[in-house]
């Protein structure tokens, strides 16, 4: 049988004055009607470019230089712009990542749907309205007669994405291209949307190209999968086969880098095939630190940090004329102790107050009430300058966004040296020597010190952040979602570095994340937070095996089922 869309040796290039960038290199792809074909890869793999090339939305100056796209027996890459537009709208539907921007905020859902239906199918207004209701029913929008007259902003994110899907189905397309359709959504909503896409594929006999970076989504939804790496097809075939027995090293490392929720691994295996292999080496770092003034005491059970009845209330600013200001209770009566040398996890959804707690610990926010003690001494409120400086030096933070956590106008060398010079730990010459050593430790060469942050990739920048945090030889490291902005393989790399650090130096870490599998891999004990309250605090293994609190159970249930881990990877895993 002939496939719905066939892409043969497609080459897409972006010429620029720095040379030609090849976004897609000889890509071939077949998608049959009634199946979902996954395109998976990390940022820069070119997976979105495939979709754009099919519908002719390549951004200037990108263009197709070779290959062909055959849709339903017709070449569409050489169509004139006008006929292509008709075809694009009628036979190919697109769903984008952000449902808010794919809908016109000034028109009601009914107006957008009927207008599209009338344009494409030449229906009368009444027929179009009927069809509109039918579509909304199909995508499970309750009470469509009412809801159709809503504006996009009156829907929740998940509902909005359903409307976008209905809009894509308006013209009865044969092919649906879904570009990261669930990335902007919460986990629970994601599952529903994927189910919906799956059901529609069967009922409408659609061909679906599902572009995603998430192996979990691939495992749950797709029939076939193509793995892309730097614009090239690395592997393609049945999803089950590829997940069970990946042939290519990149697919293997991609699969093994996905954190597992079911058990804790000592390290992430196969962290190769990433931008560059990191040879981080911390073994001699400890010797340096031992010689320094700050002693690292390993394995002592004394609490390094005690948080006692912490409250943080924000006042919303009243405007000039209406003085009424509301109080938002971001953190309510949170208490916990962090033991020396452990990795203490704080997990929660957005708005749970986990980052606010971190900010109070690092003194970015002054708590409304409550107390934080470091090594038995209070560090909240006004405290003597000596103690304050000592505390600041001993606690360092690693931030979420590697693109904004460094001053873009400063050289890497100066960025890392800043805290050393600030606390007067060394003179400028010694500080730069230390910087060079730190750069070696995190797997960068010393020449990197003279470059600016924008010359590095996300993963490299996050390693530089780690070097900066280590510069003052701290005892407590606070990691606020350190990997949530990174690709999964780079996440594995960074988490490995943090694990090594913790092991060699016996550093205490507070690890904040929304991602339960990551928490499972990293933490000894976990605190679960929701809407400013601490719900549960227990050992990691116990939390995952027998959660006490209702909310924790819901969270655990929502973890997308991990991809079938292949045997070849399993054999390399040592469990702890």
């Amino acid at each position: 049988m002939s496939s719905l869309i066939r892409i043969n040796n497609l080459q897409v290039e972006y010429p620029s004055r720095h040379g030609v960038f090849i976004a897609l290199n000889q890509i071939s792809l077949n998608v049959d009607a009634g199946t979902i074909h996954g395109l998976v890869g990390e940022s820069g793999a070119g997976k979105s470019t495939v979709g754009s090339a099919i519908v002719g939305l390549l951004e200037n100056p990108g263009h197709i230089t070779a290959g062909e796209i055959i849709f339903d027996g017709q070449r569409i890459d050489e169509h004139s712009e006008k006929s292509l537009r008709a075809l694009r709208g009628r036979s190919i539907g697109m769903i984008f990542q952000d449902p808010l921007t794919s809908l016109n905020p000034l028109l009601t859902v009914a107006e957008q749907l009927t207008e599209t239906i009338i344009y494409h199918l030449k229906f009368s207004r009444k027929e179009a309205w009927e069809r509109c209701l039918q579509l909304l029913r199909e995508v499970d929008i309750p009470d469509p007669e009412q809801r159709a007259h809503y504006y996009p902003h009156q829907f929740s994110g998940g509902m909005r994405q359903r409307v976008v899907i209905a809009l894509a189905l308006c013209s009865e397309p044969k092919l649906l291209i879904a570009d990261e359709p669930t990335t902007a959504l919460d986990v629970s909503v994601q599952a529903q949307i994927l189910q919906l896409i799956k059901r529609l594929t069967k009922s409408h006999n659609l061909g679906v190209i599902l572009v995603t970076h998430d192996m979990g989504v691939i495992a749950q939804t797709t029939d076939k999968v193509t793995v892309l790496y730097q614009g090239q097809v690395v592997e393609t075939g049945d999803t089950q086969t590829i997940l069970k027995d990946p042939q290519h090293g990149y697919t293997q490392s991609l699969l093994s880098a996905v954190p597992r929720a079911d058990r804790k691994l000592k390290r992430f295996p196969h962290a190769s095939w990433i931008e560059d292999d990191v040879q981080s080496n911390f073994s001699d770092l400890l010797d340096d630190w031992k010689a320094s003034s700050v002693k690292i005491v390993k394995g002592e059970s004394q609490n390094i940090l005690s948080v006692n009845k912490l409250n943080m209330h924000f006042k919303t600013a009243g405007s000039l004329f209406s003085g009424a200001s509301k109080i938002i209770k971001a953190v309510n009566d949170v208490s916990f102790d962090v033991k020396r040398g452990e990795v203490f996890g704080i997990v929660g959804e957005s708005g749970s107050g986990k980052s606010t707690v971190a900010r109070m610990i690092t003194r970015l926010y002054e708590p409304t009430s409550g107390n934080i003690a470091f090594e038995g001494e209070s560090v909240t409120g006004t405290i003597p300058k000596v103690r304050l400086n000592h505390y600041r030096r001993c606690t360092q933070m690693i931030f979420q966004d590697p693109y904004s956590s460094m001053n873009p106008r400063m050289r890497v060398r100066d960025i890392i040296a800043e805290p050393i010079l600030l606390y007067g730990l060394a003179n400028k010459k010694e500080a730069f020597l230390r910087v060079n050593k730190l750069l070696e430790h995190i797997g960068l060469d010393t020449a990197a010190g003279l470059k600016f942050p924008h010359e590095f990739s996300g993963g490299q920048r996050q390693r530089i952040s780690i070097a900066r945090a280590l510069a003052t030889e701290p005892r407590l490291l606070i990691c606020d979602e350190p990997t949530s902005a990174l690709d999964v393989s780079i996440q594995a790399q960074i988490l490995n570095i943090l694990k090594d650090l913790q092991e060699v130096l016996g550093l205490t870490m507070i690890f904040i994340s929304h991602d339960l599998p990551v928490i499972r891999q990293m933490c000894d004990r976990v605190a679960v937070m929701k809407q400013g309250h601490l719900l549960e605090l227990t050992e990691t293994a116990e939390l995952f095996n027998s959660p006490k609190h209702e909310y924790t159970r819901t969270l655990l249930k929502l973890i997308p089922s991990a991809p079938v881990t292949c045997d070849s990877v399993d054999s390399h895993i040592t469990t702890t």
Partner: protein
């Protein structure tokens, strides 16, 4: 030596230089701009006559049309004015005054606006509110009015006789005061964005002193809007200065700027001596136009969203 070489290579390789090379209009206006600036810097050497040396002035040579030679055999390319001064020379010297006032006023506005903008953004709260409301009020006055006000106050305090000596500083102050708001607003907006970024928070967790955060971390990252506004502001400042001088409350006739020259020449326009006002006018147009074009191009080239 090597460091300079690297810098030069980096500059030639930069996107800014690339976009510069590709636009003939910008190359022309930049060249013109440089030419005008250089010729006003070197006016004493370039000008054929010193228009302020009274011994060389002769009323016999007054109001000569362009390309004429007087009885003593001196040649005047652009003619002479009512006092027998060579127009070309007065333009060169006048441009020097105009540019000087414009640049100094903009530097003053940058320093004032940037520091107030940074302060407002970083401190927030009532100080931010206060500064921005002051800026709003200031914006509701036309620049000319602000300048007139300052001018009037100084005149009342010092009296007419001393006014001539301090006229240039009064102009700088007046024009600078009417332009700081733009810088303050742009800097505040950019700084509010930067302030939320994690590198500023990182500096705060480290306990970096506030002044250091402002100068080392925030200031360099809000500098590109400053550069763009500055280029356009110079043009506005030059125009404002010319307007004030044209109205007779700017530079005195003894130290004429382009605006003064245009005013003086304006009196003779009706009697057919067009060159006295025409050439300074053209110079002013070219000067302002070249700065405006440069500013527009800088804004586009430095704004990544327009690429």
């Amino acid at each position: 030596m090597n460091a300079i070489k690297i810098k030069v290579v980096a500059m030639i390789d930069s996107d800014l230089w690339y976009s510069f090379k590709r636009s003939p209009l910008i190359i022309i206006s930049a060249t013109l701009c440089m030419l005008l600036i250089l010729s006003s810097i070197f006016a004493p050497w370039l000008a054929p006559y010193n228009p302020f040396d009274e011994s060389t002035l002769s009323l016999w040579a007054a109001n000569l049309p362009p390309l004429s030679t007087d009885e003593d055999g001196f040649f005047y390319l652009l003619g002479t004015d009512n006092q027998g001064r060579d127009i070309l020379s007065t333009i060169l010297y006048g441009m020097r005054t105009s540019l000087g006032v414009g640049l100094a006023a903009v530097v003053f506005a940058i320093v004032l606006g940037t520091s107030l903008g940074l302060l407002a953004a970083y401190s927030g709260g009532w100080l931010d509110n206060l500064l921005m409301r002051v800026a709003d009020i200031q914006l509701s006055f036309p620049a000319i009015l602000v300048a007139l006000l300052v001018n009037g106050i100084v005149k009342a305090v010092l009296g007419n006789s001393q006014m001539e000596m301090v006229a240039i500083y009064v102009l700088i102050l007046a024009i600078g005061l009417s332009e700081w708001v733009q810088f303050a607003r742009a800097v505040r907006g950019a700084a509010l964005v930067e302030k939320q970024k994690e590198y500023v928070q990182a500096a705060r967790t480290m306990g970096v002193p506030t002044l250091m955060i402002l100068l080392r971390h925030l200031l360099p990252n809000v500098s590109s809007p400053i550069l763009v506004i500055a280029t356009i502001s110079i043009a506005v400042a030059i125009i404002t200065e010319a307007t004030l001088s044209f109205l007779g409350i700017g530079m005195p006739q003894t130290q004429p700027s382009l605006g003064t020259l245009i005013r003086v020449g304006g009196d003779y326009l009706m009697s057919g001596e067009w060159w006295i006002t025409f050439f300074p006018g053209i110079t002013l147009v070219l000067l302002v136009l070249s700065f405006n074009l440069l500013g527009d191009w800088l804004r586009d080239a430095l704004n990544p969203q327009l690429k």
